[in-house]
């Protein structure tokens, strides 16, 4: 295994048993690896299994099969996970789409950011804690007057900033963002994405960024994985994937992204991909170095 790898997922499978006759294969043999300091973009349509992948990595449910390595530790193993639970939970942070649900409505911003710092005994001294909260707020672009506010008093973008401040406070090695900007306005989306980039440069954390918006993924990611029906269809460095997509599904997905250019849009032909034509027993094949396609 590569020593630089922060997260490695090998042949991950996740099945949900709905009833006796129906089992949904939410993740069906997915493998990928994220190196230290990399931003990995995971795209796919509704129900493609991208959120389930994130949740399985996080340990919300144990995988049906396969392995998840976090900093070289096999965290999909129950024993290893429980032994290092505190450490793993601190070093792996999550940012959700719905910031209103992610923040306790009865806690002030100050308490929200302070809680994990206190629980994890990162800062025990009151004065120091105060300073830390102030500096975290400034880092995410809020001034300290927000400390006494409740989540309901904040806009969506501001709430997401608070959630980011709370995560950054743990000095994580990996941040998993599950559609963290999907519910924000365009101009606010740009603000939050810029903030992510700035913080990533400063702290050097690794970022698993999940989204359905390809133009944002293209912009922020170093490496991109495209999922469909629980399988990884194509994986490549961002530039390579967008300039030279090889899988017909990726091509169809890219052609469907609307571009703010009326004449181009009106004449554009949108490709289609028949989802039934996926091979059940295909494998990821490395076509050119770093560019994998499901065949």
């Amino acid at each position: 295994m590569n020593s630089d790898s922060i997260l490695e997922v090998r042949h991950l499978k996740q099945y949900f048993h709905v009833n006796k006759h129906l089992t949904i294969k939410a993740i069906d043999d997915v493998s990928f690896q994220i190196d230290k300091g990399e931003i990995f973009g995971l795209v796919g349509e509704t129900g493609s299994g991208k959120s389930t992948t994130a949740r399985t990595i996080m340990g919300i449910y144990p995988p049906a099969d396969g392995e998840v390595y976090f900093k070289g530790q096999l965290i999909s193993d129950k024993k290893i996970y429980h032994k290092n639970k505190k450490e793993i939970q601190r070093k792996m942070q999550f940012i959700f789409q719905d910031s209103a649900a992610a923040l306790n409505p009865r806690m002030t911003v100050e308490k929200i950011i302070a809680e994990p710092l206190i629980i994890n005994h990162i800062i025990n001294e009151k004065e120091e804690l105060k300073k830390k909260i102030d500096s975290l707020l400034v880092e995410v672009g809020l001034d300290t007057s927000y400390k006494s506010k409740y989540p309901s008093e904040l806009s969506g973008g501001q709430r997401q900033r608070v959630a980011i401040a709370r995560s950054i406070g743990m000095s994580p090695d990996l941040i998993i963002g599950d559609e963290p900007i999907a519910s924000l306005d365009i101009s606010i989306q740009a603000q939050i994405v810029t903030l992510f980039q700035k913080l990533q440069k400063k702290h050097g954390f690794t970022f698993l960024f999940i989204a359905h918006d390809l133009s944002i993924i293209r912009f922020i990611s170093d490496k991109v994985g495209v999922m469909l029906k629980g399988k990884m269809m194509e994986m490549a460095p961002a530039k390579e994937l967008f300039e030279n997509p090889l899988h017909p599904y990726t091509k169809a997905l890219l052609s469907a992204v609307p571009v703010p250019d009326p004449i181009y849009e009106r004449n554009k032909k949108i490709l289609t991909y028949d989802e039934e034509s996926i091979q059940a027993d295909g494998q990821m094949v490395e076509v050119t170095p770093g560019h994998f396609v499901y065949k």
């Binding site: 349509e45 509704t46 806009s155 973008g157 306005d185 365009i186 101009s187 606010i188 989306q189 740009a190 603000q191 994405v193 810029t194 980039q197 359905h212 390809l214 133009s215 944002i216 293209r218 912009f219 530039k239 169809a252 997905l253 469907a256 992204v257 609307p258 571009v259 703010p260 250019d261 009326p262 004449i263 181009y264 849009e265 009106r266 554009k268 949108i270 289609t272 991909y273």
Partner: protein, 340 residues
């Protein structure tokens, strides 16, 4: 020949009375829509685009009121129409499609029945005939095997198909104007593309006029003939799609267009619009965008800019176009992406 527009909004202002005071959601909006035209209304959340759409159908909550102005549908002034009269208009004249198909559809009633409901309400036809029309409608919106599917409940359908069913209901009574409020926002890109093409196709076949409300400029570029950009309850720029996308004149439109990742070249940072949209409880006296506008002039804080005409179809409200204002060029970065 100048045709009479099918929908006209004249100096429309709408306010909400809340416990904390009056919220001015729509302020002095003038719009017109021609037959067979698709007009897109774009803006961020809270800019009043949804309120504007719902005000025409009189779907707003009780604490709202039309403060000023007129709504004219097909030559008829409906500004003061009461619920009873509105019921006759909803369906034959005006119809609406909302963002989330699952909340529009009744989960317990078969799709067919939900479509025939509106047909039976507005037309004197038998049940059998209504069913036939429903099947035709489902066929029109691209649902395969409608004869069988007509008896299925919404949960048998995927998100895209549900939205098609909602469209079928909206179109069943043969309306003159369709209001589509973010109809593709909850859908995946591939499905979204299909629904947009469907709307264009239906417009070509039936000559319906569409008011398309969206925040996604890419989607708007694909579908709109004309675009109105709204900010803080006002239309700040309006023109044909080409004019607004290739020759934007309002700093807010510049901001929206340059915030898009597709208008950013590699290695650059995304350009965001600093700050946040204003609270419409107590709007500033001047241009509401002034505080976020790097090109703001002194007068922007004091007096609201009038609509300046750029071409017969292109208007924008910014003091930058006043002859006394300093010359300001379109931001270089945006110019580059427009010219590509």
């Amino acid at each position: 020949m100048i045709m009479e527009p099918i929908l006209q909004l004249k100096n429309l202002s709408i306010s909400f009375d809340t416990a904390n005071g009056e919220v001015e959601a729509v302020r002095d909006v003038n719009l017109s829509l021609q037959k067979g035209e698709i007009l897109a209304i774009v803006g961020e959340s809270g800019c009043g685009k949804t309120v504007l759409g719902q005000s025409v159908l009189k779907l707003l909550p009780k604490n709202s009121r039309i403060k000023e102005g007129q709504i004219i549908v097909d030559g008829e002034d409906i500004t003061n129409y009461k619920e009873k009269k509105m019921r006759n208009l909803r369906g034959p004249a005006l119809s609406m499609v909302f963002q989330d198909p699952m909340t529009t559809l009744n989960p317990t009633i078969p799709i067919g029945k939900q479509i025939t409901e509106s047909i039976l309400k507005h037309n004197k036809v038998s049940r059998e005939e209504a069913k036939k029309i429903a099947i035709e409608m489902l066929h029109l919106v691209g649902i395969d095997d409608p004869v069988y599917r007509i008896s299925l409940q919404p949960h048998f359908f995927s998100g895209g198909m549900r939205q098609r069913c909602v469209l079928a209901i909206a179109l069943a009574s043969n309306p003159k104007i369709l209001f589509a409020d973010e109809p593709t926002t909850s859908l995946d890109v591939t499905v979204q593309a299909k629904i947009l093409d469907l709307l264009l196709d239906i417009r070509d076949k039936t000559g319906i006029s569409i008011v398309f409300i969206s925040h996604d400029l890419g989607v708007v570029a694909r579908i709109a003939d004309r675009v109105a950009v709204m900010y803080a309850g006002k239309v700040v720029e309006i023109g044909t799609a080409e004019e607004v996308f290739y020759d934007p004149c309002h700093p807010y439109t510049w901001g929206l267009l340059s915030a898009l990742p597709s208008n950013t070249t590699e290695g650059e940072n995304l350009r965001s619009i600093q700050g946040m949209p204003p609270v419409m409880m107590d709007p500033p006296p001047g241009d509401a965008f002034a505080v976020r506008n790097e090109y703001a002039l002194k007068i922007d804080y004091e007096e609201m800019p009038p609509m300046f005409q750029i071409s017969p179809t292109h208007f924008t409200a910014t003091w930058l176009l006043d002859e006394r204002a300093p010359k300001v060029e379109v931001p270089l970065s945006l110019k580059r992406s427009i010219s590509i």
